[in-house]
């Protein structure tokens, strides 16, 4: 039991459900606190009774077992007392269930459509005309209305410190409300087993002060800047049309799966929207830091870096990788 106390104090547990950082996670945590206290009390009493009975009545020469078959009053009491305790738990539980299920209202509520895909997250800020991936940016201090949509297989959206879990079921739309108290980065993960890289389907929620969030929104709404140097321009060309050499030509180009606003022809919808790729801290299911070496390794062989990745190994040459990395890094 000391372990529970320990874990609640430690600061290096970024996914702990015991350290809620938002209204909706706190409501669940409040219920947990009550339940856990009752459970511990019941545990101590019942386990104590069991151990006491075993040691008090262990066999000694001369001890005779009392021959009784039951005790009706006691048995009725043993049925009613747990039932009452549970009833006591049921009332706040049901109240919180309905509380959490209520859709947040108001003009300033931000609606985001969240789609879980093998193995990354797509976010569509329906009112703001922003599409991004894996890193969800939200303002602090206000409820965020997430509409959770299915795509290929079941996933489950979960940011433990900010709120509960919502399964992603293909063909269904569900809701989840999140709220963050303070600015910061909150880790989350896909929770429903979804295939080879289920473990690699992470996500982050980045909460900003409302003012910073406004800034982020207006940055995101800008189309991508035109490539600044020739290497980046070559990368952009490669991105849309693929390379002229044998392996890449005629096959898929980056743009068949990825979109970049402002780059003609890059309108793919299968992979993440890369318009502001360089502004993201992580990529590929939020498992890699977004830096040059990780990006190079990724482009060289995605399925090796992330098993089961839908992005195939395109057999890129070092030169092609140079150009693509240069271009991607301009996408601030």
């Amino acid at each position: 039991m000391a372990a529970f106390a320990l874990s609640a104090c430690s600061t290096d547990t970024p996914q702990s459900v015991l350290q809620p950082q938002g209204e909706f996670a706190r409501k669940a945590d409040a219920l947990w606190d009550i339940t856990f206290a009752i459970a511990i009390a019941v545990f101590v009493v019942v386990q104590g009774l069991l151990l006491y009975a075993i040691f008090r009545y262990r066999h000694k020469p001369g001890r005779e077992a009392a021959q009784f078959h039951g005790n009706t009053r006691l048995e009725i009491a043993m049925t009613i007392i747990p039932a009452l305790i549970l009833l006591g738990l049921a009332v706040p539980t049901v109240a919180t269930v309905f509380d959490l299920a209520a859709e947040p209202t108001g003009a300033d509520v931000i609606h985001i459509s969240v789609e879980g895909r093998q193995f990354w997250w797509r976010y569509d800020y329906t009112d703001l005309d922003i599409v991004t991936a894996n890193e969800l940016h939200i303002p602090t201090g206000q409820p965020i209305d997430l509409s959770i949509e299915g795509y290929d297989v079941n996933h489950s959206f979960w940011v433990p410190r900010l709120g509960g879990t919502q399964d992603v079921v293909p063909g269904r739309t569900s809701r989840l409300t999140l709220e963050a108290d303070d600015p910061g980065t909150y880790l989350g993960q896909c929770k429903e087993f979804c295939g080879l890289s289920h473990s690699n389907m992470n996500l982050r929620v980045i909460a900003h002060d409302p003012g910073d969030f406004e800034q982020w929104v207006s940055d995101q709404q800008e189309p991508a800047a035109a490539p600044s140097d020739s290497l980046a321009a070559e990368g952009a060309e490669l991105f849309v049309n693929g390379a002229a050499d044998a392996q890449f030509a005629g096959g898929p180009s980056c743009a068949s799966c990825h979109a970049i606003e402002g780059l003609d022809g890059a309108v793919g919808i299968i992979g993440p929207n890369l318009t502001h790729f360089a502004a993201r801290n992580t990529f590929a299911g939020a498992i890699f830091q977004n830096n040059e070496s990780n990006l190079r390794a990724w482009l060289a062989n995605p399925p090796e870096r992330k098993p089961g990745s839908q992005m195939p190994n395109l057999q890129l040459t070092t030169g092609q990788i140079d150009a693509l990395v240069a271009y991607l890094q301009t996408l601030e």
Binding site: L18, N71, P160, P307
Partner: protein
């Protein structure tokens, strides 16, 4: 089915007659031999599933583990779950039921001996079929829960093996369940009313009903999955407008009763073991029985609590939260009754008792963590994390496996005639208890720290390292404890103490006959006058409420180390002989005199009673019929020719079954 015909000698449908040797095991219809087969097979799968668990724990001992590839990891955790549930816990319970059920109700065999053999062979076929997938391109890798549409993924045949293999295992369970239900309803000894039945028999009955009603539901889900995978049907494909939640509903409609299918037999075992070693009747027998039935019944109304995060809406979630909470009431009743059973007793801390006490103790934890799941808003945090894995292992390992080991230690002398060593047994218990808690207590913490389950690695710097390492150490401790058990078995086989008919001074009918029991179980079917009838043949209750041993001379004594003749009129003087009020753990106890006693030949003693005891002859056909099933399974995957071959085996087996003579002159 097979009715009176003039016995035909020889020919196509002659029945085998071997009583010993491996062929006798292949063709046996004796519930005791089938029980042993079940037990050995289930234990084999226990080792296999355990090795899978060890591989998983090796991978997860350190962050970013690289022992297993993700593809292999996914197969291993899937097969670990499937193995432990379908090929260990359920059949291990079935093993004990098979061996004990007829003995406990005073019957010569189950109602349908050949169907019983058939169940075993089908179960074995299902296990081998599932495991053959490892060699034939990849085992199931979609989790034991097989959520669609991921389970429709056509990359390997793994989930096709899942859909067919579980289907076959389901046939075994269904046949077994029907057999046990009929046996319990119809084959009880005279005077064995329902409320005089041992609780283990009650729990068998309730479990069988759960299987009877739950297996067809998963059967349908598996058929639908199979049609989707093999024949392009659209039961779960969202692209065709189908709803993958249907799979989840059907799966958990079966899956939740399944949990009780696994725990109720263990509860039955505990309800036998605790009274025997407390030397007291079970406290609140009716309450234990009815709470068992209530758990089973309520177990049908809670399935959607596995789907709290699936988006069923607040009304459904609240309703299922309430039903889930209140299933804790009958469970609590059982725990209080077990404590009441120990209360006021004279408790002998034998290995079976310790395992039963361990069951109750661990089950309290598992039950309480179960209640925390019903708190829907917090369940949304716990679900699919290691917290759930911790909970389910407290129920299924701390619960079922501890209960089953209690039963194994308790009935081992009845099955094999020799006791297991108490000293080694207690060491086994301690090691397993420590290892178990070391493994699964950290799981709760990991879950609360936010580690999702079914992850083939965990990243560093999230606070998971210590707890994972502890859990892995615990897992290997459990493995060592199993080796200790195997050593105990080996020692017992060589130089185990001879058990005699009644080594524990126990209460129920199976201890009236020799250990191991003769093929026909009882020379004469006992007439039952009490609950715990055997006890009341040995003891009377004094007016002060204490028990006193009934001697031939009428004197009562609580001294140990004596043997006495049971005060019974039926069978006259013979069966209860050798019942000795002896603690096997008090070293140096003299072996009971009954161990060397020769029993009269079965036929001879029966002739004396004027009735021939006709036991059914062995049969080839259960094995043949059962063997057809995996062939059909391969046929679905690989070739219509195999399909036809399997169907022919099935048909020939069925016709042979019907047409073979009822018995062969030995």
């Amino acid at each position: 089915m097979a009715t009176a015909v003039a016995p035909q000698q020889g020919g196509l449908f002659a029945r085998p007659t071997a009583k010993t040797g491996w062929w006798s095991w292949m063709t046996t219809v004796d519930h005791k031999k089938i029980g042993i087969l079940y037990g050995v097979t289930a234990f084999f799968f226990f080792i296999v599933g355990g090795v899978e668990a060890l591989l998983i724990r090796a991978q997860l001992a350190t962050p970013n583990g690289e022992v297993l590839s993700p593809a292999v990891y996914n197969q291993l955790f899937t097969m670990h779950g499937l193995t432990m549930i379908f090929f260990v816990v359920i059949p291990m319970g079935t093993a004990l039921m098979n061996f004990l059920l007829p003995l406990m109700i005073g019957a010569r065999d189950v109602a349908f001996p050949r169907l019983n053999a058939f169940s075993y062979w089908v179960f074995l076929s299902a296990g081998l079929f599932m495991y053959s997938a490892f060699l034939l391109g990849g085992a199931p890798d979609g989790g034991w829960f097989g959520y669609a549409p991921l389970s429709l993924d056509p990359v390997t045949d793994g989930m096709t093996y899942y859909s067919l293999g579980l289907q076959i295992a389901g046939i075994a369970s269904l046949a077994g369940a029907i057999n046990f239900i009929v046996t319990i309803i119809n084959m009880r000894a005279p005077g064995m009313t329902l409320m005089r039945m041992p609780v283990f028999v009650w729990m068998t009955l309730i479990t069988s009903f759960l299987l009877l009603f739950a297996v067809p539901v998963i059967g349908v889900a598996l058929w639908e999955l199979m049609f989707d995978r093999l024949f392009g049907a659209n039961f779960f494909d969202p692209a065709a407008g189908a709803d993958p939640l249907l799979w989840q509903h059907l799966f958990w409609l079966f899956g939740h009763p399944e949990v009780y299918i696994m725990i109720l037999p263990a509860m039955g075992i505990v309800s036998e073991v605790l009274p025997a070693f407390s030397r007291k009747p079970l406290f609140g027998y009716p309450a234990i029985v009815f709470s068992g039935a209530a758990i089973a019944f309520m177990g049908w109304g809670v399935w959607a609590h596995h789907m709290f995060a699936a988006g069923l809406g607040p009304v459904a979630n609240s309703a299922f939260a309430l039903s889930t909470m209140f299933i804790a009431v009958p469970t609590g009743v059982k725990i209080f009754n077990w404590i009441g059973t120990i209360w006021g007793g004279s408790v002998r801390l034998t290995t079976p008792f310790l395992f039963s006490a361990g069951f109750v103790s661990m089950f309290i934890i598992g039950g309480l963590s179960g209640v925390t799941h019903s708190i829907v808003p917090h369940d949304a945090q716990q679900t699919d994390t290691y917290y759930v894995v911790g909970h389910l292992h407290y129920v299924l390992f701390g619960g079922s496996i501890f209960g089953l080991f209690s039963g194994i230690y308790y009935w081992w002398p009845k099955v094999f005639g020799r006791l297991l060593s108490e000293k080694i047994g207690k060491f086994h218990f301690l090691l397993m208890l420590v290892g178990f808690n070391l493994t699964f207590m950290p799981f709760h913490i990991l879950g609360l720290l936010g580690m999702p389950r079914r992850q083939y690695y965990f990243p560093a710097n999230r606070g998971f390292e210590v707890w994972n390492l502890l859990a892995s150490i615990g897992a290997f401790t459990i493995a060592v404890s199993i080796l200790v058990f195997l050593y105990n078995v080996a020692v017992s086989r060589k130089k185990g103490e001879a058990a005699g008919a009644d080594p524990w001074d126990a209460r129920t009918l199976e201890w009236m006959t020799t250990s191991p029991p003769p093929e026909h179980n009882f020379d004469a079917i006992p007439v039952v006058r009490h609950r715990d009838d055997f006890w009341y043949r040995k003891y009377i209750t004094t007016p002060e409420g204490e028990s006193a041993r009934v001697f031939a001379g009428g004197a009562a004594s609580d001294e140990e180390q004596h043997s006495s003749e049971a005060a019974s009129d039926e069978p006259p003087s013979s069966s209860a002989e050798g019942a000795s009020d002896r603690e096997p753990n008090t070293a140096g106890a003299a072996p009971p005199e009954s161990s060397s006693e020769e029993r009269p030949h079965a036929g001879a003693s029966a002739e004396e009673q004027g009735h021939g005891i006709h036991l059914p002859s062995p049969s080839y056909f259960p094995l043949l019929t059962a063997a057809g099933m995996p062939v059909i399974g391969y046929g679905f995957i690989y070739s219509p020719i195999l399909l036809a071959a399997g169907a022919v085996m099935l048909l020939v087996g069925a016709f042979g079954w019907v047409l073979e003579p009822p018995a062969e002159e030995a």
